[in-house]
Symmetry: C2
Amino acid sequence: MTKEWIADQFRLLQDRICTQLELVDGKEKFQEDNWIREEGGGGRTRTFKQGAVIEKGGVAFSEVYGPVSETMRKQLNLDGKEFFATGVSIVLHPNNPHVPIIHMNVRYFELDNGTYWFGGGIDLTPHYIVESQAKDFHLGLKEICDKYHPDFYSKYKPWADSYFFIPHRQEARGIGGIFYDHIDESCGVNKENLFQFAIDLGDAFPVLYKHQVELGKNKPFTEQELVWRNIRRGRYVEFNLVHDRGTKFGLFSGGRTESILMSLPPDASWEYQFVIPANSKESSTNEILMHPVDWLSR
Amino acid sequence: MTKEWIADQFRLLQDRICTQLELVDGKEKFQEDNWIREEGGGGRTRTFKQGAVIEKGGVAFSEVYGPVSETMRKQLNLDGKEFFATGVSIVLHPNNPHVPIIHMNVRYFELDNGTYWFGGGIDLTPHYIVESQAKDFHLGLKEICDKYHPDFYSKYKPWADSYFFIPHRQEARGIGGIFYDHIDESCGVNKENLFQFAIDLGDAFPVLYKHQVELGKNKPFTEQELVWRNIRRGRYVEFNLVHDRGTKFGLFSGGRTESILMSLPPDASWEYQFVIPANSKESSTNEILMHPVDWLSR
């Protein structure tokens, strides 16, 4: 299993996901940009706008390599001289406030000193949390995790809760999902299966999202619900620009800005001390975001 | 000149600025929030929304003190045990794309080991740059600087250019202004006059802004110009959340989130690889932002 082969498989995964997402949307198609990284490698960024369901989104593949820079050495605490990194990264912002925002990432990293690791995860950010849908989502993730290791879900679920947390708001970005990083065979699963886990997550992604879309896309929505959607989008921007390690590393290490910031929503709003009406759908969503939930025991 | 007296003067400055800005807007009034900081001190945050000119804005006063925390020691490289900090901070987002966004800050910092310093500045972010207005703005700033030291403008103007720069976009946030930090009497101006310089800048702020408002507020604008305004607002969000040291320090050190993020626009947009039409007002603004300009020699 060479690194180039893994990259090829990730590229094919991007293809399959895009095909499925175009079916989920039913109206628009992805636009493609190929780009080259001066120091080595490049990527294929696919973006989507003004679909029937997805207002803005992107599915990015990249395969980059070259010397480990000073920034990488410091920020990623790396030991080798040459690195290789490949992955698929997705964020989708739907138009309807009753359809959740979703994010997925699978990545593989290798150094010339022989070390390698996988990282990834999927997490969901509903503008309005529907408990049964949150449970469906987590059940789907647990099912995939369980195929590979009985502890994956119980380890990677709280990892997502702690990663997708906005400290300055003291709230979760959404209902979480799973997150893992720097995982190699020392976790008890061999490299082939860790790779297969990433691919499985990637192929499950459009299936899990389709379920969420079907349950929300035909719900009518009001102007007030759009206001709330945009406030939630604002929090998404805050998380990504202030806290997300991948975004910050990308921007500070000279990554391709447009591909990195493809994760930002089409628009977002901020209001000073936005007042959430008491006993509303907004307030119940907000309360759930303040405390991590064990969805499978609900 | 005690620290408490300086804080009182800054509080009075906030009053005068708010009175003047309400006259500039002509329609709405500021709302006031008083808050207390658990570890010592507090603030008075005044916010403004949906005015005739100013769509969203804030003028914040704060006076905070107490033990130097670990975060402060690291991030601010501080030596003392107890600190005292007071200042006035302003960001205004106008509705009309032909009126610029403006930011001002004056602050005073003191440690129990006897050291103190002043910091501050004013900078302008036009959605559409009008060269004569940019020149007016810089002339106004130079006039104030020159009253205190012949080198202030020539030092603090490039400091603003380098501070208000968005590296991941390789563009300036706006047309700059002046910025200074960690300034004490070793700059050749005594403490009383450094204080007076801050007060002078504060009182000049509404006058400088009024001039910009008068020249833009009655210009009609199109839907396309609103799209561009919101793209520019998106860049403002990127600067503040990714790069602004004050914002980052505030959020990471447990500051009052709503007062810190009062600087964000009412809304903002992001489009993947937004296409700026060739030979347009948008493209000429964009070109100016790519290279710092010596406005006074234009």
